[in-house]
């Protein structure tokens, strides 16, 4: 009997503890083995695998939802605790890698404090991941080094018990409420290059996003603050906020974001002698978009990726469902009369080629389009339609 009670207690605690675990691990597609190396991970020994990095980070909060300031004071003996302006850094991270830039090891549950994995002691058994001091420093220094070209400790840390302490703390506090100004997306950028045959490259930023459907990350990969801000380099272009924008880059660096899609394109596509006009489907592909197609996003016809392949310009290639009864002919500017409403499309539009002039001779020997029409013109749109359909 005693044994039975013990077993029952054991089972109930097991169930309870598992329930507790599932609370901190909400719905996720990951298997236990992705993160844990042992069969039964416990709080004391979670047997976590070496960090799988971005592949498993599912945490996402907008910068506004996050903590404003985080005070980091676990390590410092010599320095005051670091007042880390979390929100402004989160806002900046949104322009590059998002939360995962720093929070690289998280389940979809609550964000883990760094010290859960990165131990305080430099002398430790598990040396596969950096200690807490190194983990913090590695996160901060890469960007701060690019930005200021300095490594001095006192640029981030206020020394304890010095006159400098108070002023640094005050400066940090004034930054607490500061937010990064909203980024103004450029509409059009013109780059001047050394290319003799095509000196100017016109880049329509808005088209790439709004029409071609490119995501920020497609071009802006692994970018950080120094992409725009660099203390020592002042260029001729100034952002609206007066911050210097860096344009000095090597040839390969400058081409890199474009080449993700344009690798096989001719140089002259971008490099021209004068400032190029906005995207024009007719000039680029030889096939003008009519007033219906103009409104569509590229992905509607060219598939879901932003790398577009050439399609044939046969209407029925896309409009597979065009048939009698399902197509409202009125939108073309011609309302079919009752004799023609039921006629099959191909009887007038030979081989369902809607780009060619319709023929009447299949039924009427003495009639021809556009002299004779199988219905009534809806006048206001007539001219425009006929013009754009060649």
């Amino acid at each position: 009997m005693k044994k039975l009670i013990i077993i029952l207690i054991g089972l109930s605690t097991l169930c309870f503890s598992q329930k507790k675990i599932s609370k901190s691990h909400p719905e996720t597609n990951l298997t236990c083995k992705t993160c844990h190396s042992c069969e039964v991970p416990t709080r004391q020994d979670p047997c976590l695998n070496a960090c799988p990095r971005a592949s498993m980070v599912t945490v996402y909060q907008s910068a506004e939802q996050t903590k404003n300031v985080v005070t980091l004071g676990d390590i410092s003996k010599k320095y005051e605790p670091v007042i880390f302006q979390h929100r402004i850094h989160a806002e900046m991270a949104e322009m590059s890698g998002g939360c995962a830039t720093c929070h690289h090891y998280n389940t979809s549950g609550p964000i883990q404090p760094c010290k859960n994995c990165h131990l305080l002691n430099r002398k430790r058994d598990d040396i596969s991941k950096p200690d807490l001091e190194a983990a913090y420093h590695r996160q901060c220094i890469t960007c701060h080094r690019e930005w200021s070209h300095q490594n001095s400790c006192v640029s981030c840390h206020a020394l304890k018990n010095t006159t400098q302490t108070a002023s640094q703390l005050k400066a940090a506090q004034t930054l607490e409420t500061k937010t990064h100004p909203k980024l103004v997306e450029p509409k059009k950028l013109v780059f001047e290059t050394n290319d003799k045959d095509g000196r100017l490259v016109t880049f329509y930023h808005d088209e790439h996003i709004n029409i071609f459907g490119a995501k920020c990350i497609n071009c802006h990969q692994q970018q950080n603050c120094s992409m725009c801000h660099d203390k020592d380099k002042v260029s001729s272009i100034n952002s609206p906020e007066g911050m210097p924008v860096k344009i000095q880059k090597s040839k390969s660096e400058h081409h890199k974001p474009c080449f993700a899609c344009h690798q096989n394109d001719d140089c002259s596509l971008c490099h021209q002698q004068k400032i190029a006009g906005p995207f024009n489907h007719e000039i680029r592909t030889g096939w003008a978009l009519n007033r219906f197609h103009e409104k569509l996003s590229c992905t509607k016809c060219h598939g879901t990726t932003y790398k577009f392949v050439k399609l044939d310009n046969n209407c029925v290639s896309c409009h597979k469902d065009w048939k009698v009864g399902s197509f409202n002919h009125q939108i073309t500017g011609l309302k079919l009369d009752e004799n023609h409403v039921e006629v099959d499309c191909a009887d007038c539009h030979a081989n369902k080629d809607f780009s060619k002039t319709p023929v009447c001779t299949n039924c009427h020997d003495d009639k021809s389009f556009p002299k004779d029409r199988p219905g009534k013109l809806v006048s206001s749109v007539q001219t425009k339609t006929m013009k754009s359909v060649k």
Binding site: I127, E133, H137, R138, N151
Partner: protein, 298 residues
């Protein structure tokens, strides 16, 4: 068989002696294979992590009671304009090189004694002033050194430095892997102070596993080479980099232990009284030839 006269004996001896002295190259003996314990320690230097703060330089001098500037003076980056080498006044230095992956962040490389598994300095030292310890450290004993500086010539990394400016009792100076500190369970001073843990102290086997893991997880970041894993038979200090090590001024070295060649020649020559035997054989041969010449003239 018993009829071999003195002349014949000398003839044979001359030929054999020459042959032995010329051909008897045997594998190195002084390489301390016997004291290379499985869990000997090392340091993994990740040059992609190092930020060039030079705190290690300060900590090293501090730990070895050497005169030094205050710590905050070490943030001066103008020293990187010149390539520096460890010397008798600095056991470790950091040099800076261009980084092909990001021009904004140069690559910084800490240089010090590599603490070879088969150290050439230990092998070359004729009085045994150098010793390789079980912990991996290669140290130097001031009481034995006679100042011959063979170690400086032997070292493939040109690390041991001599106090040329001291007239009385000049010493050989080099990184001792903080032997006195590690003995009492402390970390080497440079490892302890590194703000980004670009230096990881641990057993050499663990470090190689960690280094391989970093390369595997970041194949685009690292070149697939752990410097020191095999170089000159392996070193206690291991390096990771994002570019070819020759661009970071690491010497190009084979996988054979550095003492191998010199030791086998040295030990081969001096084994089995070969030099005296061959010398006498040579003289005997000469005597025999001269005597025969004189006899025929008569």
């Amino acid at each position: 068989m018993a009829k071999q006269n003195r002349r014949d004996f000398l003839k044979t001896a001359a030929v054999a002696g020459t042959a032995i002295s010329g051909l008897s190259i045997k594998p190195a003996k002084a390489a301390p294979k016997n004291i290379l314990s499985e869990d000997r320690m090392g340091v993994l230097v990740d040059t992609t992590v190092c930020i060039g703060c030079r705190n290690c330089e300060w900590a090293c001098k501090n730990a070895h009671n050497m005169p030094t500037q205050p710590q905050d003076k070490y943030s001066d980056r103008s020293v990187f304009k010149e390539m520096r080498r460890p010397d008798e006044n600095a056991f470790t230095v950091v040099n800076e090189y261009p980084n092909p992956q990001n021009s904004e962040i140069p690559t910084d490389v800490k240089v010090q004694c590599m603490h070879c598994d088969h150290p050439a300095c230990v092998s070359a030292c004729i009085v045994g002033a150098f010793s390789k310890h079980e912990s991996g450290a290669v140290t130097w004993d001031t009481t034995r050194c006679i100042g011959c500086r063979y170690c400086m010539v032997a070292c493939p990394f040109q690390v041991p430095a001599f106090q040329f400016d001291k007239a009385l009792n000049p010493q050989i100076k080099k990184c001792d892997f903080c032997y006195e500190r590690t003995k009492v369970g402390k970390l080497p001073a440079c490892v302890e102070i590194c703000p980004v843990e670009a230096l990881t102290y641990g057993s050499r086997i663990d470090l190689i596993r960690i280094a391989r893991d970093r390369i595997r997880r970041n194949p685009e970041k690292y070149v697939n080479h752990i410097f020191g894993e095999f170089e000159v038979g392996g070193t206690s200090w291991l390096y990771l980099a994002n570019q070819d090590f020759s661009k970071l001024q690491f010497p190009k070295l084979g996988e054979k232990p550095a003492p191998g060649v010199s030791e086998s020649i040295q030990h081969g020559i001096f084994a089995y009284f070969v030099p005296p035997v061959s010398l006498y054989a040579l003289l005997g041969g000469l005597m025999w030839i001269t005597k025969r010449k004189n006899e025929s003239e008569e």
